[in-house]
Symmetry: C2
């Protein structure tokens, strides 16, 4: 695919890139990792891909569109990681699965702060143009709802408005992840390794609050 034009010197890149769209997306993902969402620039991505500054606009209408592709890929990875983590959880203990869900969520968010920010802040891309992302996200939301409902049906929860519990849980986890991403912890005198344990403690505190055995 890339060595089709034999008459060109092998060191030269062929005129057509092959899969520039993907290469640009990957470069942008890396730029975000390195310097945060603001550090993603079309030109720098083009530079890293070894193409001209105008080339990316053949594949992305605008910088926003590039960020949308970045967000979709990040969300895909996020979902995959969550589901991978959940695979090793006991199927007959929904509350335990709910806990694992929260932990996996936080672990990924803390390990990939820039990507987490991109997919969650809604400021970096156009949500309406990201159908795949919306789907992946809805899938995760449905997963937590289902898990919580199962826990309730199995009698693992105190009587409560499940919708409210769902939102509170989401706010709690999202807030914790955000506090990490937004740099609150260092200013609170929370060491880097400590945040992980605190995440677990906070989740357990929440679960103890909604579980029946409390």
């Amino acid at each position: 695919m890339s060595a089709k034009s034999g008459r060109l010197p092998p060191a030269e890149r062929p005129y057509h890139h092959g899969d520039l769209r993907r290469v640009l997306t990957d470069a942008a993902l890396k730029l975000a990792e390195e310097g945060g969402p603001e550090a993603v620039s079309v030109r720098e991505a083009a530079r890293r891909a070894g193409v001209s500054a105008g080339a990316p606009f053949r594949h992305f209408e605008s910088r926003h569109a590039l960020m949308t592709a970045v967000a979709e890929e990040a969300q895909r990875r996020f979902r995959a990681e969550i589901e991978r983590a959940l695979a090793g959880a006991p199927a007959d203990d929904p509350l335990q699965r709910f806990r694992k869900l929260g932990l996996a969520y936080l672990r990924w968010a803390m390990k990939n702060p820039a990507h987490f920010e991109i997919i969650s802040s809604g400021r970096h891309f156009d949500h309406d143009a990201a159908a795949a992302l919306s789907h992946d996200n809805a899938e995760l939301v449905a997963l937590t709802e289902r898990t919580l409902a199962e826990a309730s049906e199995k009698g693992q929860l105190k009587p409560a408005d499940l919708k409210q519990v769902q939102i509170a849980g989401r706010a709690l986890v999202y807030g914790f992840a955000r506090m990490n991403v937004d740099g609150h912890f260092p200013r609170w005198g929370v060491a880097r390794g400590e945040a992980g344990r605190m995440a677990e403690a906070v989740i357990d505190l929440f679960i103890k609050g909604i579980a029946k055995t409390a």
Copy 2:
């Protein structure tokens, strides 16, 4: 002060502005309100102040420095509003004050999304250069800690690790505010007016979880 130079035509602005720093900060605050933090540009602030594009740099080392001033003013307003709201709360019921604290926090955050984002995201300004902001913030943190401790001393709380409760509460409220700022609610099918009631419900759910009477 502004009409000192009598020989100039009255319609003309005097060469020296008077309080350009403040005017620029106000313009930037308004720009943020209108188009979010990214919409704040040094040049547009200068334009609105009626000065040249280079003038702001006499007062702010960089755009970041301007944003720092914006953040300090926003944080000042935030703190003032919280304390104002808390003034009308019963002094002898710390748990009730804790609730009011959370509600006032969310009300301000939802009413001033851009300013809230600026002061809380840590990405828009230099925290180390914002001593006043750090002080105001620390003051609010201390206030909630004190209130929670009082509630505990008065026997209003279940036995628990207060530090963990503090962090969980903060994560919950911050997460909810962030979900609003980050545009999660419309995508969840939550109407605009509904968010306010949900905020109250979530706070009450949390308080019921930590209160003794539960």
